[in-house]
C-alpha cells in the first residue's frame, strides 16, 4: 500500500469517527429524553467549556502543572474585561495583547 493511500484511509476513518460523534446525538429526538437528562443538559455548556479551558492554562503543552505563566496571567484581565464590558471582541483583543506582553516581558 502506498503512503498516499494510507494517508487517505487515515483521513476518512478519522472523518467517520469525528462526524459520527457529532452527528448521532444531534439526531436523537429530545422528546423521549427523561427529565433527569434534561436537567443534566442545562449544565453541559458551563461544565464542558470550563473543563476544556481553565485546566489547559495550568498545564501548558500538556506537560507539568504550572500555576504562574503568561496564559494564566493574561486570563485575569480577560475575565475582568468580559465581566465589565460584556464585549467579545474587546475581551479577545485585551487577552492577546496581555499574553504577548506577559510572555515577552515577564516570562521572556
Amino acid at each position: 500500500m502506498s503512503q498516499e493511500i494510507f494517508l487517505l484511509i487515515v483521513i476518512f476513518s478519522m472523518m467517520a469517527v469525528t462526524f459520527a460523534i457529532r452527528l448521532i446525538p444531534l439526531h436523537l429526538s429530545p422528546e423521549r429524553t427523561p427529565r433527569f437528562i434534561n436537567a443534566v443538559i442545562e449544565y453541559i455548556p458551563a461544565a464542558v467549556i470550563s473543563s476544556i479551558t481553565i485546566p489547559a492554562l495550568f498545564f501548558p503543552q500538556n506537560t507539568g502543572f504550572s500555576l504562574y505563566n503568561a496564559s494564566v496571567l493574561a486570563a485575569l484581565p480577560v475575565v475582568f474585561t468580559a465581566w465589565f464590558t460584556k464585549n467579545l471582541i474587546v475581551s479577545v483583543v485585551v487577552g492577546v495583547i496581555c499574553q504577548v506582553l506577559a510572555s515577552h516581558f515577564i516570562f521572556g
Partner: protein
Amino acid sequence: MRTGSLKNLNYAERSDFKESLLNASPIMAGYFVVAFVFGVMCLNAGLPVWFPAAMCLFVYAGTAQFAALALLTSGASLLPIVLSTLLINSRHILMSMYMSKKLGNVGMSGLKKSLYAFGLTDESFAMHSQRLESRIATTASYLLSFNAFCHLSWIAGGFAGAVASEYLAKFISFKLDYALTAMMLFVLVALCNTAGKRLVALVSIATTIGMNFIHISPLNVFVATAVGCGVGVCLKKSSS
C-alpha cells in the same frame, strides 16, 4: 458565484451573514494560526502538501489532528489513530446532546442539522450555547454561516502553513492562538450567570485538574463534565 448568490439573499439573511462573520472573527483568527502551525508541522514531518489541507477539510478536529500527526510520525497503524480520535472527540457527544435539545427552537431540517454537526467544534459550541442561553433570536443560516466561516479559516490556515512551511517556519511564534483561549474565557464568564452553574464549572475544573495530576488524557474533560453536571443536578434536587 458567491457575490451572485449574496445579491439574492433577503435583508434578514444578509444581516445573519454579517453578524456571524463578526462573531466568528476571533475564532477565525485563532483557527487560522493553529491550522497554520498544523500545516507547517505536517510538512516538517515529511507528509505531502495536500495532507494538512485535506485533513482540515474532512476531519476538522483540532486536537485530534495534532494527535494523529504525532502518531503518524511515530509510525503508528490505523487503529491507534482512530481510537485516539474517538477519545479526544468524546466530549462532543455531550455538546451534540445539548444542541439536539436547543436546536429544536431554531427549526432546522435534517440535512441542515447534519451539516451543523459537521461544523460542531469546542469554540463554535461555546459561542452558540452562550447565544442560545441568552435567548438571542438565532436562525439556522446564522449558525451554518458561522460554522462555514470558522471551517474555511481552518482549511485556509492548514493550506497556507503547508505552502509556507519552507519559507516561514521561523515566523510562526506569533501568539494569536491565545484569541481562542480568550474567547472561551469570555463565553465562560457569560455562561456562569447562576450560582448553580458557577458551582458546576468549579467542580468540573477541579475534577479535570485532579485527573490531570494522575494522568493527562483527553477523556478527563468528558469525565469531569459528567461529574460536574451530576453534582449540579444532585444539589438542585436536594435544595428544591
